[in-house]
């Protein structure tokens, strides 16, 4: 997978280079034609006073300067690596990595490539869970900072000012050691409220759904139910727009989902069961439920708390940027506080907030690399571990950078897509 990724990136870069060179040639050709035309009408300026010519020369000079700088750096790098005989091939990806990751089926005999992939998915796991939580918390806090309730407003301000002004690394170590490590009991004295959960300072376990026979078929049924529910919601919305009759689309949607789900459950002879986690006396062997490592929980908590403060500032600023007349108009319509935010202010504020929010998503994904310190096996810690196991560091760091680049590009692409939707809806 990683080699394919490297190749895709290399091809993409070469294609872009070709495109840029093409643009430059095209522009130069345009300038030549322009000058021919100018000459034919007798208005030919000397080349050093022709902005088109100057622009092309400036671009060329810039490209050459940058190229030379990179060529020099590359040569310097090669001189050093040759002098000490560093191997720059990517063959090491097929060597056994000799490492294991907590709660991951990776064995010491698995290859370096597989270890990197496992670390990459651990990073994805942080991002997918953390970003939505940060957005929800950030929005709530951002609204709370503008609340008319004095206590709520001050609490929100205090929280934002506290976490926003501490480096994320310190927040992570604080949450990890100050909260999770010391507040939760040792594994042997696990805290098991209601016998539904297991909490200790190494792992948390929660109830989950466990698949039995026909589970694969049941998943298809659920997918079908979700599609049906979305269609029903869409249909109710259309009815509402056409006739103005009460839509009750949430009720209709949930009803459809539950209806199909329950029918499917009984038709397939009970394909799932509710699974409660249990742990043995020593706090080591877990049965049932779904487990989460403490460092993961600490990292996600810390990053969400940290990023949410930045998001809340963006949300607050965006709300304040909505024209005052909009608020007054909604008050004149006697909308409730919730309705005012839900239907008038937030839709307009989100349009303003979204571009800077994308930046915060990128920051979140990059800050996840700090998990290295508290012992969660995400991509940076796996790469640094491998580099310490006699695997070549330059190639590993290159791969690490490319993987973060991929994450960032995908996040921005998704963000830009949503942003474009928001802009069109708002006109």
């Amino acid at each position: 997978m990683i080699i394919a990724l490297l190749w895709m990136l290399a091809i993409g870069l070469v294609a872009t280079l070709v495109y840029v060179a093409g643009r430059l040639v095209y522009d130069a050709w345009g300038a030549v034609r322009q000058r021919r035309y100018d000459k034919s009408v007798g208005q030919l300026a000397p080349p050093w006073r022709d902005t088109k010519v100057l622009a092309i020369i400036a671009q060329l000079v810039f490209a050459i300067v940058v190229g030379v700088i990179f060529w020099y750096l590359w040569g310097n790098f090669r001189d050093r690596t040759d002098a000490i005989g560093l191997n720059l091939s990517f063959d090491f990806l097929d060597q056994p990595a000799g490492i294991t990751i907590a709660d991951n089926p990776l064995t010491p005999a698995d290859t370096v490539g597989e270890a990197i992939t496992a670390g990459f998915f651990n990073t994805i796991r942080i991002i997918i869970v953390g970003i939505p939580m940060a957005v929800v918390l950030g929005t709530i806090v951002g609204v709370a900072r503008l609340s008319n309730n004095w206590l709520l407003r001050k609490l929100a301000t205090g929280y934002v000012e506290f976490f926003r002004n501490i480096p994320p690394l310190v927040v992570i170590v604080f949450i990890w050691s100050g909260v999770y490590l010391t507040a939760f009991p040792r594994a042997a004295d696990s805290w098991q409220p209601l016998n539904w959960f297991v909490f200790n300072n190494a792992k948390f376990a929660f109830p989950s759904i466990e698949g039995l026979d026909n589970f694969a078929a049941f998943r298809w049924v659920i997918l079908l139910a979700v599609i049906a529910a979305i269609s029903v919601v869409y249909w109710r919305t259309q009815v509402f727009i056409r006739t103005g009759a009460a839509h009750h689309r949430v009720l209709w949607g949930l009803g459809t989902l539950l209806g199909i789900g329950v029918i499917g459950y009984f038709a397939l002879g009970g394909p799932v069961k509710f699974s409660l986690p249990t742990v043995d006396e020593a706090g080591r062997v877990y049965e049932g439920g779904i487990r989460m490592q403490m460092p993961y929980a600490a990292l996600v908590t810390a990053l969400v708390l940290y990023t949410a403060t930045h998001i809340s500032e963006i949300v607050r600023g965006s709300i304040q940027a909505v024209h005052k007349g909009q608020v007054e108009a909604s008050e004149a319509l006697a909308l409730s506080g919730f309705q005012r935010y839900r239907f008038v202010i937030l839709p307009q504020a989100m349009r303003i907030a979204f571009p800077p929010l994308i930046n915060q998503f990128l920051n979140f994904s990059k800050n996840s690399s700090l998990a290295l310190l508290i012992g969660f096996g995400e991509i940076t810690s796996i790469i640094s571990n491998l580099a310490g196991q006699s695997q070549p560091a330059p190639q590993l760091i290159l791969i690490l950078m490319l993987l973060y680049l991929v994450i960032s590009l995908v996040l921005s692409a998704i963000g830009n897509l949503i942003n474009r939707r928001l802009q069109i809806v708002g006109r």
Partner: protein, 383 residues
Amino acid sequence: MTRKVTITGWQRAAGVVAILALAASACSGDDDSTATDSTTAPDSTTAPEGTTADTVEVTQGGGVLAAVQSRDVVNCGGNNGLAGFGSVDAATGEAAGFDIDFCRALAAAVLGDATKVDIKPLEAAERFPTLQSGEIDVLIRNTTWTASRDGGEQATFLHTNFYDGQGFMVAADSGIASLEDMANATICVQTGTTTLTNLNAVFADQGIPFTPLEFASNDELNPAFQAGQCEVWTSDASQLASFAAGMDLETTILPNIISKEPLGPAVADGDSQWAQIVDWTTMATIQAWEWGITSENVDTFLTSEDSSILTFLGQPVKDADGNEAVKDLGLGLDADAFYRVIKQVGNYEEIFERNLTPIGLTLAGSPNDLWTNGGLMYNPPFR
């Protein structure tokens, strides 16, 4: 008719990507040549003349010894978080420890002054890249000598200064007494170490499942162990003793030793003169111990009857015809380099007792004892 030339955001982005592409295309192109180089490398007789000449020039012209002498300080990669081996002395604020003393010995040998060292504290995973980059002249940071590090990390390991083995530490009340008792336990280990690969290999071979928890730094591992997140801490036995000494928690270090961990100095490949200097400086402390020369009594040996000792200390030796001459060992060091090492830093026993006895390690009867006492400390003769 005019047309405006505007640079849009898209074009600007494309420009940035183009620069990256330039680097990447150069990268892929040169990778091929590296591959061919490495395949022809074993057949050294047919290796291109140019590359061989280049390498020789680098070693002779850009020698580390000359660089150290002109800089007048030895850059030494060390540890600052391992009491006994390498840490910051709370009283003086200076780096102190067993490994640090070997850096000082090197400075005494090369520059004549044991204080002319610059200790760069390194985490385990960053030590080899730092050595490869030339940022440090020598790495003396409780680093295990292994084949893959000698080969894959472009490092040259030199005479072992501490024979260690991987052990396990548990809280005294944990009830863990053997490897089998650790089934499914959370075992903490530092990333980028041989300890981690040993742990995985041994537990996989014996079929014992466990939950690994890997920390980049012992600074975070230590509180995690004391809070009980880690039921077991595995590392070199000497390190465990060092950390146990600084803990309020009652701990037990199990008798099981699962690996050989010879710790020693390492230098970057490609400069054999510098490697020899580091090697013989390390061994000089052992040789002095064998002869009973200490920093206290070294001056009394300057008039020794033993010609080997005189050569070692850089004193003139009478030959059969009665002519006196100082024998040059040809290492590129001053004649009295080893005298300065012993005078300023001390012999191996003194270094050990100064740094490691306080954290509870004993020298007598351990693998680090002299070969004449049944230990492993043995070195070739200084002739």
